[in-house]
Each structure stands twice: as C-alpha cells, then as structure tokens.
C-alpha cells in the first residue's frame, strides 16, 4: 500500500505589512462619488464658495528686500502711504480710499442683512469701499458704508436711477471669477418673503440670472452705454468694469477703449454664493496670471497710468496685496477673506442657505447669531492688519508708498510662477517665455 499523501503545510503568513492600494489617480473616491451622483440625478452639481482646486498663487512669488541697493524704511517709525485714488481717468470725483483693499460685490440675498451691514460698517473703520453685488442696494448697507460701489449686473434686479444716484462709483459686471460666462444663482432656500419682495421674486424659487446685459450686446454698445452712464452721473463718479479672468489681455483693451475708468479682474479663485462645480473648477485663469495679462494689455494700449486696475480672487493677506500692487494692480478686492473675518469657515455650503455663523443665510435664527458690531470690528481689523502687512513688506523693499512697489521688486520661487508671470526666478534675472518688464 502506498502511503497516503500528506496535505501540504500552509506557508507561514508573512508578518510584513501588505501595501494597500490607494487610488490617487483619476478613479479616486471623489471621482467615483461624482459619477454616482450624476448617474442618480442626471444633473450637474451646484456648490458655494468657489474652487477647491490648486492654482499657482501669489505665494509663489517673493519680494526682494532693500539692503545696500535700496535702503529699507523703518517699519515702526516711518510711514508708507496707503491712500489710493481709483478711477481718475474721466471721473471728476474719483474713488479715494485709505487702503487699496476694497470689499468686493456680494449680494444681499446671498448674504444676510446682518452680514452686509457688518461689512459696510467695517469699511468705516478703515476708510474703504463696499460693493452691493447683485440684487439691489440694501439701505442699511448704504447708510453704513464709507464708500459705496454699485454694481450694474445683467439682471438689473433692484436697480434703477436711484441706485446710480446713491453710488460713489459704478461697476458694470460682465463676469466673476468663480463662474465666468455664467450669471447669478440664488437658491430658493435663501429667497424668503423679505428677499423675494426686495428682488421681485417668488419666495422659495431658485433664481438663475442671465449672463448678458439686456442693453449691452457687444463692445460697440458698451461705448454708448458708458456715455449714457456718464451723462446720468454728470461725469462725477468713476465707472469700473468687472470681468472674470479669461482672455484678460484682450478684454482689458476693449474695456479701456470703451471708456471705463478702471477694470476689475476677478481670478478663478474668486468665490460666490452658489455655482456649478464645473464652472468653479474648469473656467478661467488664476489671479497670478490675470494680473500680468491685465497689465500687459493696458500697457500695450498706453493707458496703464490712466485706467485703474483692481484685482480680486484669492487675496488673503498683506503679502498678496503687496505682490499684486508690485505687479501693477492699483488695488485689490476681497470677498471670502472678509467673510472669514466675520466667522465663516469656508465650509463650501453657502448654497444651502444654512450658515451656522449667520453670514450666508436668511434663516432668522442663524442670522441672530451674527453680532453686527463685533463682526464689523473684525472686518475692520482684518483689513487694517492686511494693510499693515503690505506696508511692512513695502517698507522692507524701500518704499514710502504702497503704490511704489514695482515688478522689479519681485522674483518667482517656482519655474511655474516664473513662466506664468514672466518674473525672473529667484537668484537670477532670467525667466521663461515672455518677460514681464525685464530685459
């Protein structure tokens, strides 16, 4: 008899941990979740705040300090002027603000009355301007603002001759960085009886504004529209034009030729109350690239010294301000940063109308949580601190005026930033591609 075959003994289990496959590629958990949602609903996704993706930023630049080539200015005992004059090209009364940091357009509707009032009061602390955004000018905002910019939106909701008469400056809006080419979305959850009455909208019904002005169907018409607005305002106040950053170099030329006093360029980092995720993620170029393109366009037109350049989109601290000014901007505008100063945590849920901090909501219980005076003080503090940060850097670079910062004061920390901006890499006077003011 042959011997019974013996079962093979199991190999001893390895004690070495097995590698765990984590999908970092295209089929990651986020991709899978997005597909499942679309498969279920057949719809694209709407979300608040703006993009969550990586963009090259102003942090990729550094400022060259003055040493022996330039003498630094004393941080604590010597002044660096921050007063900024915007829109003096044709306006008899340009917008004069005490800091080059403005508050950008955010609507009453997307934001609560308390948040708009706090932002307006915040402008009083530091002597800057607030912009009403789409949907009408809230009386509490106008009554409390230091300087009031009034937006002329395509929808013209809440807009009339009276809005113009209340303005220290006008801003014709063509697009915003968060959703360029698209118009305002205000979800029904925020359209209460009060907001509905203010905007002439049925309560609870989503608003999808249209992206083109009913009375500006092209750049040629814009020339006449601006003349009309000049006539209405007797050439007193500035007229700005806000655009999302796309073909910036060409767009600013058209705006300048149409006769604006200033252009506002909103980079792709810009925020909004609600937007299709596709738009925030895949439309437009970031602020870093947009500033350079705007400056190039205005310089090629020979109007850089006439037309004010205001940039927005992801501006968060004094370094961003200083660098934007060094690149050629005359001022910056902030939105998300000012909301964070009031308590926002950028939870990306503005579109739901539920905001635990009483900012992006119309829910009375949530609105009651926002202490207007405290929030206003925090907004003022934030802008003051940013302004001081910018002057600190400017003084270190040997400037007694913020406006004296220049592109020669900058170097790029990354090859990407150098290629995007035309600013030389650190430790060199060389760049990639098109130079930006260096030769």
């Amino acid at each position: 008899m042959s011997a019974k075959p013996q079962p093979e003994s199991k190999p001893e289990k390895s004690k070495t941990p097995r590698p765990k496959d984590v999908q970092h590629g295209v089929w990651n958990a986020q991709t899978v979740a997005e597909i499942k949602l679309k498969a279920e609903t057949g719809k694209h996704r709407i979300r608040g705040c703006g993009s969550t993706r990586y963009f090259p930023t102003l942090d990729d630049l550094t400022i060259l300090p003055g040493q022996l080539t330039r003498m630094p200015i004393d941080t604590y005992r010597e002044d660096c002027k921050t007063q900024t004059v915007l829109g003096a090209r044709y306006a008899k009364k340009p917008l004069v603000v005490e800091t080059p940091i403005l508050i950008s357009g955010m609507s009453y509707g997307a934001l609560s009355k308390e948040a708009k009032t706090a932002l307006a009061k915040g402008t009083q602390y530091v002597g800057t301007s607030i912009n009403n955004g789409e949907g009408g000018l809230l009386p509490d905002e106008r009554d409390n603002s230091y300087k009031q910019v009034v937006q002329i939106c395509p929808s013209r909701i809440g807009f009339s001759l009276r809005s113009i008469e209340a303005a220290d400056a006008l801003e014709i809006i063509v697009g915003i960085g968060a959703k360029p080419g698209l118009a305002g979305h205000l979800m029904g959850s925020k359209i209460t009886e009060e907001i509905g009455k203010f905007r002439q909208l049925p309560p609870g019904m989503d608003l999808h504004s249209h992206p083109r002005h009913g009375d500006i169907f092209g750049a040629d018409d814009l020339v006449l529209k601006i003349k009309e607005l000049r006539d209405l305002t007797d050439y007193q106040i500035p007229i700005f034009l806000k655009m999302a950053a796309g073909r910036v170099r060409e767009d600013v030329k058209i705006a300048a030729k149409a006769g604006v006093d200033g252009v506002v360029i909103d980079g792709a980092e810009g925020g909004t109350g609600a937007s299709p995720v596709m738009a925030t993620t895949h439309l437009g170029i970031p602020t870093l690239a947009a500033v350079v393109q705007a400056v190039r366009g205005l310089e090629e037109m020979g109007v850089k010294q006439e037309v004010s350049l205001i940039v927005s989109g992801g501006i968060k601290d004094g370094a961003d301000v200083a660098k934007a000014l060094a690149m050629g901007a005359d001022a910056v505008a902030i939105g998300t940063g000012a909301m964070v100063a009031m308590g926002c945590v950028v939870c990306l849920r503005c579109h739901t109308g539920e905001c635990a901090f009483g900012i992006g909501t119309q829910n009375p219980k949530q609105r009651a949580k926002l202490d207007i005076e405290k929030a206003a003080q925090r907004v003022g503090n934030y802008i003051k601190a940013m302004t001081v940060e910018a002057t600190l850097l400017a003084k270190a670079a040997g400037k007694t005026k913020l406006a004296n910062l220049e592109r020669e004061d900058l170097r790029a920390l990354t090859m990407e930033a150098s290629a995007v901006t035309g600013i030389p890499m650190i430790g060199s006077n060389y760049t990639f591609g098109e130079m930006f003011g260096f030769c």
Binding site: M205, S209, H210, D215
Partner: protein, 232 residues
C-alpha cells in the same frame, strides 16, 4: 412749444437742455435728430418731448417722468432701465426694446425686434406690430401687450408679470416655464383702459395671457438629443 434744432449739438448738450426744460414742465420739439444715440436719457420732470424724425440707441433710457414721442424709428435699447413717464414710438424700434424697464409706459406703433422687455421689472409695454424671439424673457414684473405676431420662446423664464398676446399661433411659440391662459376680466378692463388712453383700436377681450409657472424651480432643457424629438 420750444424748438431745438440739434443738428449741430452733441448729445450731452441736448440732454442738459432737455433736463432744464423738463424740470420746468415745458413742451419741446426736437428737429434734425439724425438718429442721435442716447437722446433724452436720464430725463426727469413732467414735460413733453416730440422728436421730429428717428433716433439711435438708448433713446429715453432711464426716463423718469416726461413723455417722449418719436415720430420716426428708434434704435436698439429704446427705454432701457426706464423708471417712469411715457415713450411713444410712431414707427418701429430696434431689438431689445425697454430692457430692464422698471416703470412708466412704452408704446410702439410699429414692429420691434427680438428680446423686447428683456428682464422687465414694472410698467407697461405695448407693441402694436410684431415682436421678435425671446421677448419678455426673465420678466420680474410689469405688463406687456403684443398685438402682432410673436417670435419664438416668448416669456422664457418669467418669474412675475404678464404678457397679453393676440397671435393665434402663440401656443407654439411659448418659452419654458410659462403657461397660456385666458385674459381675466380685471386684466381686460385694465388693458382696455390703456388702449383707450393711447388710441389703440383693439378688443382687449381677444387677448390671451402668458404668465409664469411658479413652483420650486424653473426647468431648463440643457440637452436636446434630436433622435428623440425627431427634429433635425
């Protein structure tokens, strides 16, 4: 009546003069307008302006009180952002008539182009002839009366307001998010009063009303596969 020959004047000079005259409630005749753009924009007051000829773009924009009569044609964007008063055009207008009108009354005796009353907020707009496509789009308030043939997608995405129409084919030209219904007796009376005021010989009872469908959100058709609709 004050007569202004504007042939040698620029529009700023004309409008400055009109502002003074309308403030005083005068009646003014403008001759040789030569299709001037931006004529009579931002004028307040209570007077009357009669233009003997045709005007260009933005005629009567932001008007707030006076009556403006144009005996010829007007260009694009006539009555833009108008807040009050009257604009009466004896012949035709260009497209985008009275965009974002807030108040007052516009009467066009002839035809107009596409997108009449784009984003209307209030007031009355009467077109005795034809109107082009997408008229009354995104209306938030006010009343439109279109007595001739209407173009495609009329009333698209209205939120408020009403469009009265006589075109028997209108059902095939409705935009999204609106519905057609018989004119109510109160509306009929109000429209008849407007007809009488502006000398329009029409029967208000023969009109139908386009009103918004108001519910949770507008429906948009963003994908239109032709193989399902059978359309090329």
């Amino acid at each position: 009546m004050v007569s202004l020959d504007v042939a040698e004047m620029n529009v700023r000079e004309v409008n400055t003069r009109l502002k003074e005259l309308m403030k005083a409630g005068e009646e003014v005749e403008i001759v040789n307008p030569h299709s001037m753009h931006n004529l009579a924009t931002g004028i307040k007051g209570s007077g009357r302006i009669v233009v003997r000829g045709s005007t260009g773009f933005y005629t009567g924009g932001f008007l707030q009180g006076p009556t403006l009569v144009v005996e010829g044609n007007t260009g694009l964007y006539t009555g833009d952002n108008m807040g009050g008063g009257e604009i009466i055009v004896e012949r035709n207008t260009g497209m985008n008539l009275a965009p974002s009108q807030v108040g007052g009354t516009v009467v066009v005796k002839g035809n107009t182009g596409s997108r009449a009353a784009f984003g209307m907020k209030g007031g009355n707009l009467i077109v005795c002839g034809e109107v082009g496509m997408r008229s009354g789009q995104m209306t938030l308030g006010g009343r439109m009366i279109f007595l001739g043939k209407v173009g495609a997608d009329i009333g698209e995405s209205m939120y408020n307001g009403v469009i009265h129409v006589r075109d028997p084919e209108v059902e095939n030209r409705l935009g999204g998010n609106v519905t057609l219904q018989p004119i109510s007796s109160q509306e009929e009376q109000e429209v008849a009063a407007l007809f009488e005021k502006y000398g329009i010989d029409q029967d208000a009872g023969k009109l139908q009303s386009i009103v918004p469908k108001v519910y949770g959100r507008h429906d948009y058709v963003m994908f239109k596969p032709t193989h399902l609709s059978g359309r090329a």
